[in-house]
């Protein structure tokens, strides 16, 4: 069947076009209104007044400063903690435990984690209850502004905690590529301590491999919406949140200012990346001598102490935040400073059943459809590599990550401007395609290694037995890779469930999902109901991962080698 090979070779082209076009169109759609051009809204002359209006916005300096600070600080903290965690625990027995604890936390949607953290740290939250009144002496909730502090520390903390599992998993995937085990063994046999050996012997090779994920973290952290709405200050908020507010303003001329703000956001994010890049240069310049100074144990104990403390603290806070959500969802009357809600009740859960049907089914159908699209394209791209006999070019791989490297608020807003201009319907299909855009990089990241590493002799054997390329793909490759494909699907589903801004903007605010509802509720006062929504939002990806890991076990329970991993 030559059609199959011809067809499959087109998939990468389609995929790249599907990724580039929305981003470029979106950016174009935001540039024109920023300079006054948007006929549907009555803007028919090129002008700079919207930039002037943006410049006159009170607190603009603070917005920019907040975005830069929270973005860079959380990226730096994430990188530092992951580096210390790896240096302290790599190749130890505790590492397996840490890995098993952190991996599922990757699937926790940003909004749910942020809500959990907010409920933990707020003045009447679990943390202050646990130390009151016996330690703190508080019999009423203390009067501090956290989360939502002006400096953005709570926001930085939330972003850091949520990005640690992501960067750790990216690093774990990269470690074998740079032969970290051998490097570490070599360094230690030369007398280097664990920390020094890792930082001097492994990190220089590991860093280039995790640079792209780190850039994605910086882009996300400087421009995220939902975490900032829940944990960040509100007057003024970080720039991206302000832009979304302007977009939702009943005064339609504010849309022009929002477009200008989106371009400014791109500038701010690019500035953050530039600062980080300069930092990289500086460190590699200053570090060159340090790498060769021959000191083997300097700062060893401090490093190990910090690594241990930070790792367990991060896990502890995340787990406590999630546990707190469960308590809040079951709480009836829960006066401060009690650490345990006295009568547990299902009232909030019952209350939630009334309105949750619509958001729940939207979340699930959009998640499944977006994941399906992303998986088909991912598999098509990877199978095309087999037939072109070379992997995607570096440029093409970069394009795969494009949606993660451009601030969401910038190009999604442009797409919305196009919707208005062309008269396209906002709704389920637009939101689903929007989600697929952000799901695709993750399904690709998750599946590429196992797909490329599969022993080529399997398909050679099948081909010499007379199987056509299509038949080899369907009867050999797909079933043998069923387990990693399902995991990639679970990752994609989790990413889709976590999406806030694409749902909000492409659905024109009319399409509600668990995430949009949870974020809306979080700004209201009902902690119990918010907790229930956050838990639903968290349970779906968990269910996805549970299915992805148990289904193959059931399916292949009579196929020993499929379970031992010989197939991959």
């Amino acid at each position: 069947m030559p059609y199959f090979v011809t067809g499959i070779r087109v998939v990468p082209v389609i995929t790249l076009a599907l990724l580039i076009l929305p981003v470029l169109l979106g950016l174009a759609g935001v540039v024109a209104p920023a300079f006054g051009w948007h006929p549907a809204l009555g803007g028919e002359a090129w002008t700079l007044v919207h930039w002037q209006a943006l410049g006159n916005t009170t607190g603009l300096d603070d917005m920019i400063r907040l975005s830069l600070f929270t973005g860079l600080a959380s990226a730096l903290a994430t990188f530092g903690i992951v580096a210390l965690c790896l240096a302290t625990f790599l190749e130890t027995r505790a590492f397996g435990t840490i890995r098993r604890l952190l991996s599922p936390l990757l699937a926790v949607p940003h909004a749910a984690a942020a809500i959990g953290l907010a409920f933990l740290l707020t003045p009447s939250g679990l943390a202050s209850r646990l130390v009151s009144p016996w330690l703190s002496g508080w019999s009423h909730p203390p009067d501090y502004l956290f989360p939502g502090d002006e400096a953005g520390l709570a926001l930085t903390l939330g972003l850091t905690l949520k990005e640690i599992p992501f960067l750790l998993l990216m690093s774990l995937a990269a470690l074998p590529q740079c032969r970290a085990g051998e490097r570490l063994m070599m360094a230690r046999s030369l007398g280097y301590g664990r920390i020094n050996g890792f930082l001097k012997g492994v990190m220089p090779a590991l860093y280039p491999l995790i640079r792209l994920p780190l850039y994605a973290i910086i882009v996300f952290a400087t421009a995220n919406i939902e975490v900032a709405m829940i944990l960040g200050p509100s007057t003024p908020p970080p720039l991206a949140v302000a832009v979304v507010r302007w977009l939702g303003d009943p005064d339609l001329t504010m849309r022009f200012q929002a477009a200008a703000g989106a371009l400014l956001q791109i500038g701010v994010t690019a500035g953050a990346l530039l600062i980080w890049w300069l930092g990289e240069r500086l460190v590699s310049r200053l570090g060159a001598g340090w790498l060769r100074d021959g000191h083997r144990r300097r700062g060893e104990r401090l490093g190990r102490g910090l690594g241990t403390l930070m790792t367990w603290l991060a896990i502890g806070v995340l787990v406590a935040a999630l546990a707190g959500l469960i308590l809040w969802s079951l709480a009836g009357y829960w006066p401060f400073p009690d650490a345990w809600p006295a009568p547990l009740t299902l009232h909030a859960w019952q209350q939630a059943t009334m309105g949750i049907g619509g958001p729940l089914s939207n979340t699930v159908t959009i998640g499944l459809a977006a994941t399906g699209i992303a998986l088909v394209l991912t598999l098509g791209c990877l199978e095309a590599e087999t037939h072109r006999r070379r992997p995607l070019s570096a440029g093409a791989q970069l394009i795969l990550y494009l949606p993660l490297l451009v601030p969401q608020v910038a190009f999604l807003q442009g797409l919305v401007q196009w919707q208005a201009q062309v008269g396209l319907n906002a709704g389920w299909p637009a939101v689903t395609l929007g989600h697929a855009l952000f799901v695709l990089p993750y399904t690709f990241l998750s599946l590429a290694e196992s797909y490329r590493r599969q022993d080529p002799r399997w398909r050679q054997v099948a081909a010499t037995l007379g199987a056509s390329p299509a038949s080899v793909f369907l009867r050999i490759r797909l079933p043998m890779l069923a387990a990693p494909i399902l995991v990639a699907g679970a990752v994609g589903f989790a990413v889709s469930i976590g999406q806030y801004l694409p749902t909000l903007l492409l659905g024109a605010g009319r399409l509600t999902t668990l995430t949009t509802e949870a974020v809306n509720l979080a700004s209201g006062g009902d902690r119990r109901l918010t907790a229930v929504y956050a838990l639903y939002q968290l349970a779906l990806p968990a269910l996805g991962f549970a299915l992805a890991t148990t289904l193959p076990r059931l399916w292949w329970r009579h196929r020993r080698q499929m379970l031992s991993g010989d197939a991959a």
Binding site: Q460, G466, P469, Q561
Partner: protein, 210 residues
């Protein structure tokens, strides 16, 4: 069965411009031509090229002919070459019967195909193994299933890539006898790559040292 011979017509393989292999040969039906030589000389690359899987970075010239057919013009799945590796490579997601059925040409009712699988299993002393997980078979049993899977595809020639090197000594003799006997019975021209001189001696055919 097949009566065509397999001819390598001035095959030359290069890697990054360096010549690796230069060979011309003709293998008659039922004859086993052994290629011997140190590792890295490109023996397995030659077999891969004949089967249609020349790895990236290698270039080959010359023609591979089966009878009058130029195999270079056909995709791997239409060359009808039976390829045996040192690993049996039974598909782990299929049962033993499924592996054999994968090799069989399409056609026939479900029942006919099942009967054919059972007969084939009987033939290699594994009657009743159709529903077994290949993961539970012994090394010798797997090797026999792999051989039978190739034969059921009705190949016109065989390519053996160190097929016995991973078996222990007793099993090796038994498998050699079985494989060579089938090759002669079906009249298949065969190319074998090996390190083991005993393989070449048992095969009884011409030997090319690379």
């Amino acid at each position: 069965m097949s009566t065509a011979s397999l001819r390598l017509d001035e095959i030359a393989i290069t890697h990054g411009g360096h010549p690796l292999i230069d060979v011309s040969a003709s293998v008659a039906p039922g004859e086993i031509l052994t290629l011997m030589g140190p590792s890295g000389v490109g023996k397995s690359t030659l077999l891969a090229h004949i089967a249609g899987f020349l790895p990236v970075g290698f270039r080959a010239s010359g023609r591979v002919l089966l009878g009058e057919t130029d195999l270079g013009l056909l995709p791997p799945e239409r060359r009808r070459l039976g390829l045996l590796f040192q690993d049996p490579l039974l598909f782990p997601h299929l049962d033993v019967g499924g592996n054999l059925a994968f090799g069989m040409p399409p056609g026939g009712s479900r029942r006919q195909r099942r009967d054919e699988v059972n007969m084939a299993l009987d033939d290699i002393g594994l009657a009743g193994f159709a529903e077994r997980d290949p993961g539970t078979l012994s090394g010798g049993q797997r090797a026999r299933v792999a051989l039978m899977r190739v034969l059921l595809a009705q190949p016109h020639a065989m390519l053996l890539d160190e097929p016995f090197s991973k078996l222990d000594t007793a099993l090796r003799d038994e498998m050699r006898r079985l494989v060579f006997e089938r090759i002669r019975r079906d009249g298949l021209p065969t190319l074998m790559v090996t390190h083991d001189r005993a393989d070449a001696e048992t095969a009884g055919g011409p030997i090319i040292e690379l």
